[in-house]
């Protein structure tokens, strides 16, 4: 589903990603962990081309992200092409980023009606279904300010799912939440994983990674330090840096 080959990303002169190579299979849940500044969020943002990579190759569903290869030259994709690929990738942000001028329902139907051109009726029906699935059918007509952080994040997940993505990216989805609200968001994500959604999750929730993750990738300094089955990596980290990190978060 996702394939990265030696992905590099620079901000100015700072190398944020220093050659990331990994592969995510369909229906797989991959958890990216690591200290802040290790490049996990940046890598996630490269996958849907919110950030442009400087070197290496990144493929989603077998197609290059952001470029088209013609002969041995790469051509930048037009906006319409980038936009079409992004529709297949859902993204959930640390700070929710719900549209504050729209109700929960308005947030969920925005992209289906505007981007996919669905009728309002069709989009509303689907949105009601999704909001029910994240347990917020009764909050449909509330504006984001009237919702708790956990509820906002669940709306954000419903909003991403409304585009029927093949892949979901989660950028620290529970880091901005009060501890008592983390569970409700993780429950929704657990359900998604059980339904077979391909997910890449940047997280500090090691319990979630152990329970739901198929693969755990530990990143530091823009490189992958170690990866494997979450149970193995968490129980028997092979590298010093992984051990040091885990001793602080577990």
């Amino acid at each position: 589903m996702v394939k990265a080959e030696g992905v590099h990303k620079r901000f100015g002169r700072v190398e944020v990603l220093n050659g990331i190579t990994l592969e995510v299979q369909p229906r797989e849940v991959m958890c990216l962990v690591g200290p802040s500044g290790s490049g996990k969020s940046t890598f996630l943002r490269c996958i849907n081309h919110l950030e442009r990579i400087n070197a290496g190759r990144l493929y989603v569903d077998g197609e290059l992200v952001g470029y088209r290869q013609v002969g041995d030259k790469l051509h930048e994709l037009r906006e319409s092409e980038v936009v079409r690929k992004r529709q297949e990738i859902g993204m959930v942000f640390q700070r929710f980023n719900l549209f504050p001028h729209k109700t929960a329902l308005g947030n969920v139907i925005e992209a289906p009606t505007q981007v996919k051109g669905q009728s309002r009726k069709q989009a509303v029906a689907r949105a009601e279904e999704l909001l029910a699935r994240v347990g917020l059918k009764d909050k449909m007509h509330s504006y984001p300010v009237a919702l708790s952080g956990g509820q906002q994040q669940r709306v954000a997940i419903a909003r991403a799912l409304a585009m029927d993505p093949k892949l979901m990216l989660f950028d620290e989805p529970t880091s901005a939440l009060d501890p008592e609200l983390v569970g409700e968001v993780l429950d929704v994500m657990r359900g998604l994983a059980a339904d077979g959604m391909t997910m890449i999750v940047v997280t500090h929730e090691m319990g979630f990674a152990r329970e739901v993750g198929d693969t755990l990738v530990f990143m530091d300094g823009g490189v992958i330090v170690e990866s494997g089955r979450p149970r193995d990596v968490l129980a028997n980290p092979r590298h010093e840096r992984t051990k040091l990190f885990l001793s602080k978060v577990l």
Binding site: N48, L50, E79, S80, V83, R84, R86, Q87, I89, G90, M91, F93, R95, N97, L98, F99, P100, H101, K102, T103, E110, A111, Q114, V115, Y143, P144, V145, A146, A156, R159, A160, M163
Partner: protein
């Protein structure tokens, strides 16, 4: 040291409600008395001074020339603001463009039009035929006589509208920048184009920041439009000047038009209140605070940038 805390249960009696003697604010009472005295003295003098000639003021308040002036002033205000807002959005988006030449052109425009007095701009547009006697817009077979094209009305609209564009550009830009970047990212991640993101997500949120100063601009424009009296265009102020040049009731006519300006700015302030309320949806848990009266008074007393 160990702190203690007692668990609250139903048996805990609610302590007595506090009824304290309030602090007496003698200073406020003195100030209130002084303000009331001054207000009474002013009111008394205004209504007993026969030189005000309130009868004449009442007579000219609905004179057909004055009423026509009111309509013209409203037209000028509306047209200039429409030009100003469209130009402002355009200039703001240009200014945020990654192309340095496009951004620079916008900055240059704002520099010129904000840096010179509106009064001077009105006179310049009125006299533009001295610079360009023939206007062709660069098109073949189009040779318009500038004196025919630039009537006082056109000069007034051009001067007020183009000047307003510079101010609106800054207001719109501040509004666009006030919207969190996460909003744009979320919209892009959902597959929205830049145009869709601007129109559906960023602009509606920027409106909350853009509307209040735009309301102030409109109120200012209503008053600034009086400057076009210098090119003998019969809006409200010039209409009054035409009348008092015959009957010498200068003060009375100035009061007449002041009453009209005050009435119109009040109406605009009420409109602004409802517009602001509409665009603040989702920004706070309650209805936007503040009474309508407070909004209206603050709107009327807003200070116009230097002229």
């Amino acid at each position: 040291m160990t702190g203690t805390a007692t668990e609250t249960d139903e048996t805990t009696a609610r302590p007595e409600e506090i009824r304290a003697v309030p602090v007496r604010h003698y200073g406020r009472w003195v100030a209130a008395v002084i303000v009331a005295l001054i207000a009474a003295a002013l009111t008394y003098s205004v209504f007993t001074n026969a030189r005000f000639r309130w009868g004449d003021i009442g007579h000219f308040l609905f004179d057909h020339r004055i009423l026509h002036g009111v309509v013209v002033t409203l037209e000028l205000t509306a047209l200039s603001m429409i030009i100003g807002i469209i130009l402002g959005v355009l200039l703001a988006i240009m200014r945020l463009s990654p192309n340095p030449l496009v951004a620079g052109a916008s900055s240059f425009y704002i520099w010129i039009f904000r840096g010179t007095p509106v009064l001077v701009q009105i006179l310049l547009w009125y006299n533009v035929s001295a610079l360009y006697p023939k206007i062709s817009f660069g098109l073949p077979f189009v040779h318009l006589n500038a004196n025919d094209l630039i009537t006082p009305f056109v000069a007034a609209i051009l001067a007020l509208g183009l000047n307003e564009g510079a101010y609106m550009a800054e207001i719109v830009r501040a509004g666009l920048l006030s919207v969190d970047e996460g909003q744009t990212e979320a919209a892009h991640a959902l597959g929205m184009t830049r145009l869709q993101t601007m129109r559906r997500i960023v602009l509606p949120q920027a409106m909350r920041v853009i509307i209040p100063p735009t309301g102030n601009e409109t109120i200012s424009m209503l008053k600034t439009s009086s400057l076009v009296s210098v090119i003998a265009y019969a809006e409200l102020t010039y209409s009054a000047a035409l009348i008092d040049s015959v009957n010498y009731l200068v003060i009375q006519l100035l009061i007449v038009i002041s009453i009209w300006y005050l009435f119109l700015t009040t109406i605009l302030s009420i409109g602004q209140y409802y517009l602001e309320r509409h665009y603040s949806r989702g920004s706070s848990r309650q209805d936007p605070g503040g009474s309508i009266l407070a909004k209206i008074f603050s709107g009327m007393f807003s200070v116009r940038h230097g002229q």
